[in-house]
Subunit: 343 residues, 4 copies
């Protein structure tokens, strides 16, 4: 922790802050600059139970201008804690390392024909996992909310036929048990990225977790949410950037492609991209997918539907199977350039 | 719904779209402009269960440039559905109408002395309800997470002594029953504004709900979240603007003061402001509080602590009791100018 | 300047950075923490001509995690350089201190009747200065670009009749001479807030300058733009917050009302609010204006038109004279509460 | 233009709006929906000189809820006006079409050795043009502002030796003549994207213009700025995305990679990416550059310095020549996959 004192701070002010720091069991290192004094604080400023928050308390002092942390607040998720990439194994499918993983499927599970036809179609073009929503977070209470367990059963059936593991969202703690029966990867949606109760709960399972970044989640907060899952004992966390909210309305969200190299530097966890929700329009999905692999991402979470014209939700952003297959061909070749293999 | 056709659309394209509209049980009204054709669609485009989403499906047509909704997606929350202001009664405390309501208290419940001393202090300066967190949503799993039921009991004790109803946050569906035993108003935090499972659940209770806008929630989405609660049968919803996330870092968030007149126009629900979380710094809280009442808000959710120097969380943004009392004096006088009474 | 070293930094790394600092004529103060080393750098890191930028150069070192400035980059504009409020005198009209100044008028100068009728109207309701655009920055090259010098003459005529000083925008360095002939305050528009050539030029005049914050300008950058003007010798700078660009589209921009207390703390310069451009809709202007004075602003820049129905530009956001007069009554009363006088 | 009437609008209201439309020389097409009436307006709503702005005027009517444009406000820049890609020829170097163009060089021109060494270095690795700033827009008036004409001369010398055309920024109308003597492409910086005076001026020259998107410029506004240049007669405009301002601070700006496919759909003009300013950190530049070509961009504007350790400005984001050469190898291979050739 670093404390910058106000220009007007006196020696008495500095001494008082020094004493506060010592009372917290920390050590102060005082450095008087030409205009301001800076105090470096040595010791662990994080602890689960404490009488006061050192950062907040010191920032209240009338002679303190600002207080900044030095150490990263995420521990288990940090590159500093583990240098080599985490590689997650989902029933034999690898996520992370040299592999580029394709998780494809419809936005919502709608009916048996849709799920099975789509699963068979994407399987032929190298998709590694099947995605599909049975519980759907919808902005309007009057929109289709998903088929629930019936949808999960259809995903499972498609999975058993094709061998593709299932990635599906859990929104409600009370649905966790039923989702666990059918899912191979538990998806936490963007709207639940700081639903800490839910994060802790999936952290107590032994299923891999796919965390989608929220629309206004900083990269640091994103990693703190991963830390919530990991601190409960579940180390198999995949991060998924899916567009952040900005002033630009030409796309539904703004894909933060820089999040790929930034996350790769900050964490050992695999980083996926969801180009479909970022773009909101099918036309832009191939370009964003190619950008994702070129930037070093570990995979895609991508919406594909055997017949988007009749899709119940998010129809505008789903690729057809033909479009998906063509895209995979391009991704495979770009992968060769950047050292990512599509099995 | 309005469909703007591409400039290149032919008569056959227009006819095809027309037929799609009719197949959905809707009616088309075609208007050929100098450069583009616009189709007005007449009929209800919203229904809970449907084979397809009309907006998404039509936007997929190759000759369609864009599709826009005409009717507001929120119904019960809308001014169009109810012209006069909703006034919520919380154990005799009014929220909405000509009243300006002060909901004050510490960020987190820390201990008996803190809650009781603060409650007594704010009561003397006209506070109408006591706020305090027993379950705390914290970005870090290593931060203080709240006292849980022990904290709720302390709030209840302070409420019984002072007569101030209790406003406290519920984060986890499994905690709802215990929170209901102690709380008079159920607060939904900014991070849970699109936790639809939780919204439905509090919508099934008979306790008033205080909804905090998320950091990246548009006003339309905010009202849709209110609609989730209301559509389950609970009409007593208070909206609370608490700062949105922007590029500016001089304050923790950017208080969207315009949300007050916008929401007042769009909805009949009461609108509160939380200046403490928006500012993140105590120094700025009085100015934002005065702006809130001047702009026409129905009340404040404001952090006050009998001794912020020792507060466990968010110490930097909590007012002292003296500062709060002085602020209430000013607010009362501004309220007289704008027609809002502080009882 | 503070340097945070990477966790992996060795003693040799620290010594190398230490030497770099000394070579720059600065002094290092090393503080070893439990996990990272922090180096405080003492001395002036800013100088107009230099071989290298110390902050950038040091941040390039392979063992450096991050580098932060300690001293504020603005000097003349800073509260640290001048504690009492700057009060600007425009032909006898005061801006700053205990005064609340009303600068009103049409968006664009359209014709003689419009300017004169509007000027007479606002004069009756205590307006202190007349605003109006003769050179208009328009997003489209096909939109009305302003009347140019003809418009300036009409403003001057209205000013001479009513005694209201004229505030008008200068966009183009080549127009500066003609604008200087007619204007009493030179307005720099939001789109030119970092047009440094123009800022320097108005800094060389002896006319007060009204700087409008850009849509994506941080408060620090805003003050740096003021510093550009001041560093050329012109100390009479008024700052005007007019809404920033965020994800919210319910208003044209998001009025950053917190900028008022933040700027009041950081600088001695007067702070105005433009509620008209922030809102983009007339209905919201009174609420934002009341919020402005309640938050401690020093005045308003507000659009008023004697007949908005026929206005050429920004018609949707202009108040009628009656609406303006009614608003001034309310502002006067709120001003009494917060210690701001409307003469 | 489409007008959505309020739900409460009466037949008289509709008739009044109808009459206003006819008075403007436009035609109304009325469509009554289940809850609201929609009026399609037929005719050209844009014209350079007009008594009133139809959109603004109609949106003021008390029975009107909202007014929306149908036709795109940009004409010459639009794909609708020209279907095939614009290919710009800069002294034999092509920009646009199947070509991927590399514009590289230092942020600022510092001295003869720097410019010449860097130019020779990048030339060996296929760079097509030399970039470098002689007039620098700097946030602080106390920072290095560029060498001015002396810098331009050094660029010219390097250009003559290597054959690389020169891209350099013009900030100030009064510098245009001197810049024209040395530059082959006129760069308009992000801060001047809505400096309409400057845009018109470069539109009157016969030199190609490179327009950098502003930090808060929407794609529509970006195209309107191109339209300003083009409407003055200069059709050779290159667009350059360089990161937008969002809440995320892990990178200096957020590269809006989606702008590539969006712009490719909306306009026939070439689209470049500046990964250096977007990232702000050298480490992230290669990933963003690969994403750019993979997404379909027509080239890069990239900062390269023969010895970034001693660079005066933006040192942290400049690649070394070795790093640049290695990057070009990768880009060439990705280009083969996506159909873009690096000559």
């Amino acid at each position: 922790m670093i404390i910058i004192m106000k220009r007007s701070a006196t020696d008495d002010d500095i001494e008082r802050v020094n004493k506060k720091i010592e009372k917290m069991g920390l050590k102060a290192h005082i450095s008087k600059g030409s205009s301001k004094t800076v105090i470096g604080v040595i010791g662990d400023v994080d602890s689960k139970i404490k009488e006061y928050d050192p950062v907040a308390t010191l920032s209240l002092d009338k002679a303190v201008e600002s207080v900044q942390r030095v150490s990263k607040p995420y521990k288990l998720a940090s590159r500093e804690s583990r240098n080599d990439d985490t590689i997650i194994d989902v029933k034999g499918v690898k996520v992370g390392g040299d592999t580029f993983t394709l998780i494809a499927g419809p936005c919502s599970v709608e009916n048996r024909e849709q799920v099975l036809t789509t699963a068979r179609g994407i399987k032929k073009c190298s998709a590694h996992m099947l995605r599909g929503g049975a519980f759907k977070p919808r902005t309007s209470p009057y929109s289709f909310q998903g088929l629930g367990e019936e949808g999960l059963k259809l995903l499972k059936e498609a999975s058993e036929e094709t061998g593709l593991p299932v990635v599906t969202e859990v929104m409600n703690p009370k649905d966790l048990d039923v989702v666990l029966k059918y899912a191979d990867v538990l998806q936490i949606g963007a709207r639940n990225i700081q639903n800490f109760s839910l994060l802790k709960l999936v952290g107590q399972t032994d299923k891999p977790v796919l965390l989608k970044r929220g629309m206004a989640t900083t990269i640091q907060e994103f990693l703190m949410s991963a830390e919530y899952v990991m601190s409960e004992g579940n180390a198999d966390v995949m991060l998924c950037e899916r567009g952040i909210r900005t002033f630009e309305t030409a796309t539904r969200n703004t894909l933060d492609i820089s999040a790929v190299p930034v996350l790769k530097k900050e964490t050992h966890l695999p980083v996926l991209i969801d180009p479909s929700h970022a773009a909101g329009k099918r036309d832009y999905v191939p370009a964003l997918s190619r950008a994702a692999i070129a930037a070093g991402a570990d995979g895609l979470l991508i919406e594909v539907h055997y017949n988007p014209q009749i899709a119940v939700s998010d129809a505008a952003q789903q690729l057809t199977i033909e479009e998906f297959c063509q895209l995979v061909d391009e991704l495979r070749k770009i992968g060769e350039v950047v050292g990512k293999i599509i099995q």
